[in-house]
Amino acid sequence: MTQASTTLPLVEQFQYGLDAPICLTWELTYACNLACVHCLSSSGRRDPRELTTAECRAVIDELERMQVFYVNIGGGEPTVRPDFWDLVDYATAHRVGVKFSTNGIKITPERAESLAASDYVDVQISLDGATAEVNDKIRGPGSYGTALRAMRNLAQAGFTGFKISVVVTRQNAGQLDDFMAIAERFGAQLRLTRLRPSGRGADVWDELHPTASQQRQLYDWLVARGEQVLTGDSFFHLAGYGDPLPGLNLCGAGRVVCLIDPVGDVYACPFAIHENFLAGNVRGPGGFAAVWRDSELFAGLRRPQTGGACQSCSAYDSCRGGCMAAKFFTGLPLDGPDPECVKGHGERALAAAGGAPVPRPFGNHSHRSRPVPVTIGRRPAGPGPVRHRPDRACDENPLAGFRP
C-alpha cells in the first residue's frame, strides 16, 4: 500500500467511518429457488414490499453520486428477479461495479458469454461442499450440480477469476484442498467465509460451526495460502492465533460497509438483520445517503468502542473482540468475546449462559411448505426437519479483501 505520510493508520481512520461505504451488500430479493439451512437472510419467498425497478435505479444513482465503487448483490437468489440483468447493466453503465452471488441457477452458456464480456461484473458461485453429498445437505438436492454447471459455463465462456464462495462448516472444513482443486479446475478463485448464527443460520449454528480444532486448522491453511484465497475479512477473530490474515481485520459494520435489504431497510451489516441494527430505509427522506451519514446507530458504531471483558486479553489488539453479529445472535454481550474466540472465552461464556434465550433474527421469508431435505450431521432424528427453509446465495460478506 501507499505509504507516503505519517497519518493515522488506515484502520483507525476506518473505525471512525467514511463519507460513503467502500462497498456494500445489497440483497435484491428474498425470493429463492433454494432453501439453504444456514441462509443469513431467511430467504425463500419474495416480499411484496421489495424495491421496484425504478427505486433500485434511484439507489444506484445515489451510489454513483457517493462514489461507491461496487456493490455485492445477493438475496435470496438475485437472478430470479426479472429485472436483475437490467439492473446490473444500469449499475455498470453508471460506474458502479457489481459482484453478485448466485447459486448458479440462471448462469446459462449464453449468460456466461455476456458476463465474460464485462469488466465491471464479477460473479460469485456459492458452494458449501466439495462433494454433492456434503453440499446438498446444506443447500438442497441438486444444488451441487447446478453450481458446477454454472462454473463450467463460466469457464467455457472464458470468464476467468470468478469466485467460488464457501461458508466453512464442520462438515466441509476437511475439504479445503478439494475446494481449491475445484477452483483450479475452473480457473476460479476460492473464497472462504465464516458461518454466522444469522437468519436460519441461528437454528443450525450449534451443529454446523467449526470445532475449535477445525478452526485452528483453517487458520493455518489460510496463512499458508496467503492472498491466494479470499476471505472477505471474515475470519478476523482468528487473528488472535498470531499473525493476522490478509484484510483489514476490522469489523466494518456501519463504518465502511452496510446492508440494503430487499425492502430498502439499511442494516449495519449483512449478518445483522435485526431491529437493533436497523439504521433506516432508502425510501425515507434523503435516501440512502441520509441513512449512511445521519443514522444514530451508525454514529454510535463510529465512536471508539470499548473492549469490555476482552480489553485485558493479550489477543484483543488482533481480534478486536470478533464479530458483532456472531455475539449478538448467540446472546453474548457486544463488548464481550466472540462465540468462537480462539482463547476459548466465548465457549466458556456460552456455557455459563446455559442456553438462556437469545435474540431472534428479524423477519422470516422462508418457504412455508416445502419440506426441508436435510438432516444435518449427527442431529438426532427427534426434532425432525428444521421448520424454516434454507437458502440464499449465502455469503455476501462485507469487506472484500482489502488490506490497509
Binding site: M1, A4, S5, T7, I22, Y70, K99, P246, F402
Partner: protein, 100 residues
C-alpha cells in the same frame, strides 16, 4: 476483489510522464483517497492529501517529478513519494503515459 501485489524492487522513474489508469476511480477522503481499479478489482489507499494531489496532477504534468513539485513537495520528500508511486504503478493504478 483481490488485494495489492507487493511493490516491485525497481525504483520509480520520476522523470517520465505518468497518468492515472483510465479504469481507476478516485474518491477523496479525509486521510487522502480511496482508489478502485475496475479492471483488476483492486482497492488502494492514498494515505495523504498531498499524494492525492500528485496523483491528480500526473496526467497533466510532463513528469512525475514536476507533478510532485506542483503539489508543493520538498526535495527531501521525493524518495518517499517515489516509493508510494511505485506501489501504485505495480498495482496498475497509474501507468506510464506515451506522449508524442
Amino acid at each position: 476483489m483481490s488485494t495489492d501485489a507487493p511493490p516491485r524492487a525497481e525504483s520509480f522513474d520520476l522523470d517520465r510522464p505518468w497518468q492515472l489508469h483510465p479504469q481507476v476511480s478516485v474518491r477523496p477522503e479525509r486521510f487522502g483517497a480511496l482508489l478502485y481499479h475496475f479492471g483488476t478489482r483492486r482497492l488502494s489507499f492514498l494515505k495523504s492529501p498531498a499524494l492525492l494531489t500528485v496523483v491528480k496532477t500526473l496526467g497533466d504534468a510532463p513528469s512525475a517529478r514536476e507533478a510532485c513539485r506542483r503539489a508543493g513537495l520538498a526535495q527531501a520528500e521525493l524518495p518517499a513519494y517515489a516509493t508510494a508511486l511505485q506501489t501504485l504503478a505495480s498495482s496498475q493504478m497509474i501507468r506510464p503515459r506515451e506522449d508524442a
